[in-house]
């Protein structure tokens, strides 16, 4: 955000300060009416949203850097003599890979629980037959 502090020797009334701040807050998404007539707490929320957006943008840049990095590594690895030396470029975006990994973990956990339940059921069944007197069969 643009700096709204008072320059040396400058006197600023509340109105002047608000006029100056209005421009800054409109730059980060507030409407004119929201600024002048809205809730007094609203600017703080807009500041927080703006900071969050800046963080997300920074993360996006970092993420792009990761893909560029992988592309460079992939290109350099292709200069080697063997096919085995090639470091592949990710087939899917990192977020999708992460989602698939979590889905697979969930499926694996579910299958393990199912297998345990089936084993338990089988054990119970065997125990039930073992407890039945032989001459009653």
């Amino acid at each position: 955000m643009e700096d709204s502090r008072i320059n040396e020797g400058e006197t600023l009334s509340f109105s002047d300060f608000l006029e100056r701040s209005c421009i800054e807050y409109m730059a980060i998404g507030m409407t004119y009416e929201q600024f002048w007539d809205g809730d007094n707490d609203a600017p703080k929320l807009f500041r927080e949203v703006w900071n969050r957006k800046a963080e997300m943008k920074d993360y996006d840049f970092w993420h792009s850097g990761q893909y560029v990095n992988m592309a460079v590594i992939n290109a350099i690895s292709r200069m080697g003599e063997s096919e085995r030396d090639i470091i592949p470029y990710p087939e899917k975006p990192y977020i999708e890979q992460e989602r698939e990994r979590k889905d697979m973990e969930k499926q694996r956990d579910y299958k393990e629980k199912e297998a345990l339940a089936a084993q338990q059921w089988m054990n119970d069944l065997v125990r039930l037959y073992a407890d039945v007197p032989k001459d009653s069969a």
């Binding site: 009334s13 509340f14 109105s15 300060f17 608000l18 006029e19 701040s21 209005c22 600024f35 002048w36 007539d37 809205g38 809730d39 007094n40 707490d41 600017p43 703080k44 500041r47």
Partner: protein, 107 residues
């Protein structure tokens, strides 16, 4: 939500509140902090009348009803502290934030 003053006058409920626009209007009507010590009642009267703007736009600054309410309002000096706080609040919200240098009251 900011600080508000509420009262009933002639069976009508009033809510006085300050927005940034009201701060600007108060300065246009002649309020300034420098005069607060020299002529406090005049300054408080300005703050009081401007505080109608946000929720009761139909009440003009110098209308008969504004004059009536001002004349009948109780504890005018007690209003000073609250109105100054209300007037400052929209600006304070803009400059508030997490600072690295913490301070405390001593004595």
């Amino acid at each position: 939500m900011g600080k508000r003053i509420e009262f009933d006058y002639k069976e009508k409920h009033y809510i006085l509140e300050y927005s940034k626009r009201t701060v600007k209007i108060a300065e246009e009507e002649g309020f300034n902090f420098d005069d607060l010590a020299k002529k406090p009642l005049a300054m408080i009267e300005i703050l009081f009348r401007c505080a109608f703007y946000k929720n009761h736009k139909s009440i003009q600054f110098n209308s008969d009803i504004a004059n009536e309410i001002w004349d009948s309002i109780d504890d005018k000096t007690g209003l000073q502290e609250v109105l100054v706080e209300m007037y400052s609040e929209p600006v304070q919200q803009l400059i508030s934030g997490e600072g690295q240098t913490k301070w405390k009251i001593v004595g």
